[in-house]
Amino acid sequence: MIVIYSAKKIITMNPAKPIASYVAVKDGKVLGTGNLEELQKWGEFRLDTTFEDKIIMPGFVEGHAHTMEGTFWRYVYCGFFDRMDPDGNTWSGAKTIDTVVQRLKEAESKLTDPEAPLSGWQLDPIYMDNKRVSCKDLDKVSSTRPIGVLHASGHIMNVNSKALEIGGLMKTGINHPGIPLDEDGYPTGELYGPDAMTPIGVHVGFNRSMTDSDEQGLVAFGKLCVRAGVTTVTDLAARLTEDGVDSMLRITNQESYPATVVPLKVFLGATPKETVDLAVSLKKKTTDRLKLGRIKAVADGSIQGFSARMRWPGYYNGAPNGLWYTAPDQLSELYRLALEAGVQVHTHTNGDEATEMALDMLEGALKANPSPDHRFTLQHCQLADLAQFRRMKKLDMCVNLFANHHFYWGDEHYRLTVGPDRALRMNACSTALTTGVPMAIHSDAPVTPLGPLFTAWCAVNRITASGRVQGEAEKIAAKDALYAITLGAAYTLHMDNEVGSIETGKRADFAVLEDDPYSVDPENLKDVKVWGTVQGGRIFDAKSL
């Protein structure tokens, strides 16, 4: 059965027919776009006018997110900014520690099991005058129940006294850089870095498999996708255990699942060969809504955690250089084997030394295994300079820049971590375009909210949380940002043949919008309302999820 949808305007991203008013869909794919006369010749059809007053764009592609956000929404939202949950309720930002405590108290009062832990997420005291949160604050919520609140960065956690006690840390004499002590010699309840967080994390609801979304979480994440206009989404550092894959297959194969999920197997705890072999064998399990067979490597840490690897002159505040998460030789072997097997690798690099290292390793691997169209992608790649972008181009690499990060932490980078010169060039979208490096932009949800239109707004305006424009020269045009969140991201996943534009033969994936993002003032791009999506020809109305 052919369905022809009418719309106020269809922006196709197909240069041959950029704008249309009708789109014909059959078997979940696009038959064609144009006017009714052109389309009705395909045969018998039903006209659907649901979108008559809407704007249709290609479904958005989020090239760097983590489905665990779906699970996190079962915890208490403690973020500073307003944020919409999977059910469409907007949680107002908690602007003070007292508000955070109040919110946790409300959630606590609803718990029936007196020993059940209480977990919160997305706390960010940076915006609360950098006021330190201590276990005494969280003790106001409960002194009998362990409580843990994860910070927005994912690198810091605050816990209460009970959690410290259960974890065996309620004592004096601890000497650990990740565990600051109070004047009385006891831990303040702030835990920095995974090593300090882990022993307590297990007692407050953040356990080993935190990066894996559970089934309920994956369903919730699907709803977030619809609300953001996203029809294809990555799960960028999945463990992909056998059970995990089965569970993802089960959920995404449900007829009601609204997105195609692209999980990348994280390179950790297995040799390069084992990892590549696993990716090759997983590829065979790929379905329409679960695309397997890609690898994610992590070269270094984070800039705000001072664990990113920096080239000279290093951190602005004099912090020592960060850490390698993967040895150069291991990355080199992974690249070589992956190129040989035709498996794509995305690599997290935050610091510019990590970017340089990944470029060096890929250059060597490509000499050993010349591979046309490999599309190996640098993820985040926040501090790359012009020379590094030129090398990416020469090596046929893609880049996925962290545009949202610039809004949330740009001020911190300017002031503290990398200083003005490098903060201005961070997430250099314009440089990527002028050097011709295929580019996507991302949210890294749950680190920042899933919302490609907001991400596009960040790249276009480069405004930081304090309202400053940081890096005028790296601003890009709205049309380029909108390309980056559709075809641009699809290209980095080798999926531009399937999704990213509305044209004959591609999956019928649409973002259905209330306004035209090409006509609004670029400063208002983030305020364009999303009605919902069409995914593989199935309609998902955000209001009735």
Binding site: G168, H176, G269, A270, T271, E274, W324, Q330
Partner: protein, 303 residues
């Protein structure tokens, strides 16, 4: 430092290719009744004979004789906590750190859990590659941090070094490599790697160890255990390891253990015959000289 009651952990550090996995494989082969728990980043090239594997799941392999191997992925501390719950309890944990991990940071983290304590940090370097690696633009600082936090440094694959005297000259002028012990095929006896396990069960015996010498020193009089431990772990003697009982000037019996510059002193619940096993290498002083020195120094400094 007093010994925590938890399980002893030896952290084996070193960059890729230094021979860490070979060392772990050797340890498993030589376990000889010791129940070792081996923690590795990945099972990868662990060479465990199929016949010896009793059971295996995603994270753990149980081996005949009571040893187990575990992969820790991204949660080292949780894995350690789980190992400590095993029944029967392992005697010792060997932790093969990843090639870019900083062992002192791992030690600090392990100090947070009560189940284990770090007994020693052992670094392996690839003797043939180390000079190049220490000027590599990406990993020089990482490798330097690894060897700087080690109690014992082994220059492995020494058989592949073409000009040995040149290497020795370079190493002796490149601290902390000046105290490195040359080995090949990661051939390090368990008594050296993990400490002498048999001391105190009967009269102290000097184990026979390839590449190393070992002697038993029996103090002739009570001494100050702290000063004595400092002497044994000091730069003067360059001993690899020591372990044994001494009588303190307070009349109590103390267990003393040293590895490189690290030492532990613990009050012994039982009264033991004094006697300390000393293990030295070619870079230590000659054995007879060491015994003589200890004797002299003990008298001189009123230990």
């Amino acid at each position: 430092m007093s010994i925590n009651k938890g399980l002893p952990v030896t952290i084996v550090t070193g960059y890729l290719g230094a021979g860490k996995t070979t060392l772990v494989n050797n340890a498993l082969r030589k376990a000889n009744g010791l129940k070792l728990a081996i923690l590795v980043n990945e099972f990868g090239s662990l060479a465990i004979d199929e016949d010896l594997i009793i059971s295996q799941d995603e994270n753990m392999i149980s081996i005949a004789g009571g040893c187990v191997c575990c992969s820790y992925g991204n949660d080292l501390l949780l894995s350690l906590m789980e190992l400590a719950k095993l029944d029967p309890k392992p005697n010792h944990i060997i932790l093969e750190a990843s090639g870019v991990a900083i062992p002192s940071a791992i030690e600090t983290s392990i100090s947070l859990i009560e189940e284990c304590y770090v007994e020693s940090i052992v670094a392996l370097v690839d003797a043939e590659q180390i000079r190049d690696q220490l000027s590599d633009k990406y990993v020089a600082d990482t490798i330097l941090a690894q060897i700087q936090s080690a109690d014992l440094i082994f220059a492995n694959k020494i058989d592949l070094v073409k000009n040995l005297s040149d290497f020795n000259y370079w190493a002796s002028n490149s601290p902390p490599l000046d105290s490195c012990i040359c080995v090949f095929h990661s051939n390090i006896e368990l008594d050296v790697l993990l400490g002498v396990k048999r001391v105190g069960e009967s009269n102290p015996q000097s184990p026979h160890i390839n590449e190393f010498w070992s002697k038993t020193y029996i103090p002739s009089a009570p001494l100050d255990p702290k000063a004595f431990a400092e002497l044994l772990s000091g730069s003067d003697l360059k001993l690899v390891r020591t372990k044994g009982y001494v009588r303190g000037t307070d009349g109590k019996t103390y267990l003393i253990q040293t590895v490189g510059h690290r030492y532990y002193i613990d009050l012994s619940a039982e009264l033991k015959e004094p006697g300390v096993v000393l293990i030295g290498s070619k870079s230590s002083k000659h054995e007879s000289e060491v015994l003589e020195n200890i004797g002299e120094l003990s008298e001189k400094s009123d230990i």
